[in-house]
């Protein structure tokens, strides 16, 4: 798993936010579109793509997309 690929997969969960907005440093909870449903989508994406799922606290403890990537990487 690579960071860039994860960022692309992460970005594709969003409908309104342009994919170009997303970098490893994006503070995703500040995005207008962020919601609890999106958190579930991100978790389901992780399960589908990488075979591991996030817990509620994992997403809460992450600030940037890279934070989340590191949490996921530690679960692999």
């Amino acid at each position: 798993m690579e960071l860039q690929e994860f960022i692309t997969n992460f970005a594709s969960q969003f409908e309104e936010t342009d994919p170009s907005v997303f970098t490893k440093d994006t503070i995703f909870k500040d995005l207008d579109e962020w919601s609890s449903l999106l958190a579930l989508s991100v978790s389901a994406m992780a399960e589908e793509e990488y075979g591991v799922s996030f817990k509620g606290d994992d997403i809460r403890n992450a600030s940037t997309v890279e934070d989340l990537y590191m949490i996921l990487k530690n679960k692999l």
């Binding site: 609890s36 978790s43 389901a44 509620g56 997403i59 809460r60």
Partner: protein, 248 residues
């Protein structure tokens, strides 16, 4: 002492008895005089429930209701019963675009196919006594409303809702009643492994006019009404216990 909700002399099968609503229901049934047959997958946790049952004469059977052999073994160990409480079930929070047939099957197998088949086998082998009562733990979700990422769970409970009405008609000539309880969110460990955060749960609680989730006992008491002779003229119904959630 006068008690129209007494379960004295009745034998009640409770599935999913190792935790949550099933556990509370099994314990409350025993307190109201029933002989209880409890079943669950985890030996350790089922034993915990068993040790909390009041008085003697109860039975525990380890069973995985999704496995045909296990299901048949459970049915073969039952002689005759007066009530069934189907409380084995899982929740699943998954946005619809990820709801593959695999995910759907996992939920439908436990929430819909397993209780359906268990009921069918017990009916076919004539092990449910006349005057018996079958209670499904369903949900407001899928019957009256749904929630974000709940399509799969709602579908399983919606399927039960239709099933219950059909079975109620088919079993009425045998004097067997079939009903469901439809709770709002109940505080059980069903959420412990979930992706839902504490903050989100607190926010959800505020949606309830009574400002909290239900307690397992509060659902168990509705189940007991439906098991007892107090509800002798009630069949095919959904008993709503939701803290006012679906009022608005």
């Amino acid at each position: 002492m006068y008690n129209p909700f007494s379960l004295s002399g009745k034998t009640i099968l409770v599935t999913g008895a190792s935790s949550g609503i099933g556990k509370a229901t099994a314990i409350e049934c025993s307190k109201l005089g029933a002989n209880v047959i409890i079943t669950g997958r985890s030996r350790e946790r089922l034993n915990e429930t068993f040790s909390e049952l009041e008085s003697e004469g109860h039975t525990q059977v380890i069973a995985d209701l999704c496995e045909t052999n296990s299901l048949q073994k459970l049915v073969s160990e039952i002689k005759s019963i007066d009530g069934i409480v189907h409380s084995a079930g899982i929740t699943k929070n998954i946005p619809f675009q990820f709801a593959t047939i695999d995910k759907l099957s996992e939920v439908m197998n436990l929430n819909f196919f397993a209780p359906t088949e268990l009921t069918r086998l017990l009916v076919k082998s004539k092990k449910i006594n006349k005057g018996g009562s079958i209670v499904f733990i369903s949900s407001v979700s899928g019957v009256l409303c749904s929630a974000p990422a709940s399509s799969v769970y709602s579908a399983s409970k919606g399927a039960l809702n239709g099933l219950i009405k059909g079975i109620a008609l088919d079993l009425a000539p045998r004097g067997i009643r079939v009903n469901s309880v439809i709770p709002g969110v109940v505080e059980t460990n069903i959420f412990e492994d979930g992706v839902i955060s504490e903050e989100q749960l607190e926010e959800n609680k505020r949606m309830y006019p009574l400002k909290r989730f239900g307690k397992p006992n509060e659902i168990a008491h509705g189940v007991i009404y439906l098991l007892s002779d107090a509800s002798a003229w009630v069949t095919g119904s959904n008993l709503l216990i939701d803290g006012g959630l679906t009022l608005q």
